[in-house]
Symmetry: C2
Subunit: 241 residues, 2 copies
C-alpha cells in the first residue's frame, strides 16, 4: 500500500469512528388470516411509558447479522414459525420515536395462515396475542404507524402477486378465495366481476371435485396453478386482482 | 413514577446502552433522463480500496435528522437540486459491505430531467458525472447492487404511476412519450399497442396544437391531465403502461 493510500484510510477511519452511530432494530408485523378476520400478532409492551399497551415483535440488530436475518431471528424466537416469508417494507427513523435512545428501525411484514399449530405454540408464550386489525387503534412507540404502512404494502402485494393462495387449503372454492380478498382488503367485491377477472387471469385449475360435508349446495373446487402463473409472469403477464 | 417503573426504565437504559450500534448512511441513486438515455449520477470514490471506481452519492445520517432528511441533504449539497422527489427503496446491511466499519445504508432513488441548469451546476462540481445506466458494470462498495435494486423499483413505479410525465415538456407528442418509456424500461414498444393502452387510460388531453420546426410531419401535441388522473385514481383506477 502506498503511503498516500494508507493516509487516506487513516483519515477515513478517524472520520467513521467519530460519526454518529445509532441502535438499529427490526419490527415485524405478522399478519394472520383465519378465514374470518385479518389479525396482527402483538406482544405486551414492558417498556415505560408504554407498559399498558401492545407492541409489535422486534429486537435490536446484532453485530453479526443483517436486518433480514434479525427479522427472521425475532420471528423464530417469538413464534416458532420457521417457514414464513418476510418482506422488508420501510425504515422508520424519527428522532424521538424511541423514549430512551436513538433507534432506527426497519419494518418487515409477514402473512400467514393461523392454524392449530400456531395457536398451540402461542399458548405457551402468554405475552403474545392475535388482535383483529380492525380493533387496533393504537400501539406502543410508532408501531401503529408502522403497522398501517405494512398493511398498505401487504394489501398492494396481495393484488399484484399470488401471495393469498398460501392462506387457503390446497383445494378451495371461488367463494373462499373471494372471502379472503374481501377480508384482507377490507372491501366488498362483486361476485360476477371477481369471477370474470379470475377467468381472464387463467391461473386456476378446475380439479374436478366439489366441496364435501357442507350445508349449502357444494361448490366446485379449484387449485392455484403455480407453473402456469410462473410461465405467464415470465412473459410479462400482470397479476391484478 | 412508581419505584417499579423507574426500575424498569433503568433495566432498559442499561440494556439499550449496551446494545450494538452501527453507523447508518443513506445512498441516493439519482436517475436522469435526457431524451436519449437513462443516466445515473456518480461520484469519484476517494475511499480505498475503491479509489479507481465511481460511487453513488451518500453520507452518514446525523443525530438530528431522519433518513429521509439525510437523503434530501445529500442531494441538495451535492447537486443543488432542491425540488426533486426521493423514494425510499431498501436497506442494505451486509456485515462486510463497508471496508472500515459496520455501516447500514438506506437506499433512495430520484428521477429527474437532465436540463441545462443541472448541467451547469455539475460543471462546478467536477467530482460528479452522469453515466449511462447501460454502461455501468461495477461501482464501489455494494453500490452496483443498490443501483440495480433502485432501477427495478423505479421501472415498476414508472409503469404504475405517472412519474414519467415530469421528464417531458408540458406539451409532448405520443412518440416522445413512447420513447421515454422505451429508454427507461430498456424495451421496444409496439406503437399501436402503446397508443391503444394510452387511449384506454384516458389521462392525456389533446391540446389542439402540433409540433413546430420539425423535419418530419408535425405530430399532434398532448398534455398530461393531472386532475383527471387524480379523480380516476381515487375511484380505484389502475395506471398500468
Amino acid at each position: 500500500m502506498t503511503s498516500k493510500a494508507s493516509e487516506n484510510i487513516n483519515v477515513w477511519l478517524t472520520q467513521i469512528n467519530n460519526d454518529f452511530k445509532a441502535a438499529v432494530s427490526v419490527d415485524c408485523v405478522i399478519f394472520g388470516y383465519d378465514d374470518d378476520a385479518l389479525k396482527v400478532l402483538v406482544s405486551n409492551c414492558d417498556m415505560p411509558p408504554y407498559t399498558d399497551q401492545f407492541s409489535l415483535l422486534g429486537d435490536i440488530v446484532h453485530p453479526d447479522e443483517t436486518t433480514d436475518e434479525a427479522a427472521k431471528r425475532v420471528l423464530i424466537a417469538k413464534t416458532g414459525f420457521t417457514d414464513v416469508f418476510l418482506e422488508q417494507v420501510q425504515v422508520f427513523s424519527d428522532i424521538n420515536r424511541h423514549p430512551l435512545s436513538r433507534v432506527i428501525t426497519v419494518a418487515y411484514y409477514s402473512l400467514i395462515k393461523i392454524d392449530e399449530d400456531h395457536l398451540l405454540h402461542l399458548e405457551k408464550n402468554s405475552n403474545l396475542r392475535w388482535m383483529d386489525v380492525c380493533d387496533i387503534t393504537s400501539l406502543a412507540f410508532d408501531h401503529f404507524t408502522i403497522m398501517k404502512s405494512c398493511l398498505s404494502r401487504m394489501q398492494k402485494q396481495l393484488r399484484e402477486q399470488p401471495i393469498g393462495f398460501n392462506l387457503l387449503p390446497e383445494k378451495f372454492s371461488l367463494l373462499q378465495l373471494q372471502r379472503l380478498y374481501e377480508v384482507i382488503l377490507n372491501i366488498e367485491l362483486d361476485k360476477r366481476n371477481f369471477r370474470r377477472k379470475l377467468n381472464s387471469l387463467a391461473i386456476l385449475k378446475d380439479i374436478g371435485e366439489i366441496e364435501e360435508s357442507v350445508s349449502h349446495r357444494p361448490a366446485k373446487l379449484y387449485a392455484f396453478d403455480k407453473s402456469i402463473y410462473e410461465k405467464k409472469k415470465n412473459s410479462g403477464f400482470n397479476f391484478d386482482l
